[in-house]
């Protein structure tokens, strides 16, 4: 069994409205960049066993758009999209990120790849418009099924609560 880097992604919060995710890969920056931005690659790794990627469109140029639609085993759809703002293969990519279930939670995502000695360190900086958006985001992302399914109740509770306190 080879040693893997599974579970090694770290999450930090550099400011009230940002989340920074860092992860290393044993591959060149070029390969990582392509695997992140070419539909033939993304469609293979992006989703888990119980989710199919029904739509995976990536128009990789400044001003171009991307759109992913995932379908879970139970028929629930989960989709997000955005527009590329900067592309500098293989080191940097900036795009907007909008989750269809929560269009108010828009972020600007900056992905940077730094290769050293065959290991590429990827950082993903998600800059939300405010703190409640950022704090709602793990639920919009991992738990998007609820919003997509019209099961907005728990979401709205969370949102109301966070907004009231902000």
């Amino acid at each position: 069994m080879t040693v893997t880097r599974h579970g090694s992604a770290t999450v930090e919060f550099p400011s009230d409205r940002e989340a920074l995710i860092t992860r290393k890969f044993d591959a060149s920056a070029e390969l990582v960049f392509d695997v992140l931005t070419k539909p033939e690659h993304v469609s293979v790794w992006f989703t888990d066993g119980d989710e199919d990627l029904e739509v995976c469109e990536i128009d990789l140029r400044v001003g171009g758009e991307y759109r992913y639609v995932g379908v879970f085993d139970n028929g629930v759809r989960c989709s997000f999209h955005g527009t590329f703002l900067e592309i500098e293969r293989p080191v940097r990519r900036v795009e907007t990120w909008v989750f269809a279930g929560r269009p108010d939670v828009e972020a600007v995502e900056t992905v940077e790849l730094h290769e050293q000695d065959g290991v590429t360190t990827m950082t993903v900086l998600l800059a939300f418009k405010d703190q409640p958006s950022r704090d709602a985001s793990p639920w919009t992302a991992a738990d998007g099924v609820h919003a997509a399914d019209g099961m907005q109740g728990s979401y709205d509770n969370l949102e109301d609560h966070v907004t009231a306190l902000a």
Partner: protein, 121 residues
Amino acid sequence: MPTSEYNEPMARASAASDVFNAIAEAHRREILDALVAGERPVGELVDMLRLTQPQVSKHLRVLSDVGLVKCRAEGRRRLYRLDHENLRPLHDWLEKYEQYWNGRLDRLDDYLSDLQRKERM
């Protein structure tokens, strides 16, 4: 993803957001950082943060209200300490965030390994 899997964390989220609000303010995070090392009197926190005593007291009150810090009197001094148990909602939330990213990035990692293995063959 089964829907039921997320019911519990969703229910906890409301309680957790009080804690998020409390730590949304930079000075309050500094206070928590200062208390990680151990119990401190207000005066020390005032010196460390370079704020006025009323400002520090106001922040400590917010942190006390959500249960992140506890206070005890020692003579005329009031000593503040962290209450780790009430940091748990925050910890759970962070864990969920990390789980999401780790799941996705571990799949990317496996895929990269497969591609490179095929290239070498």
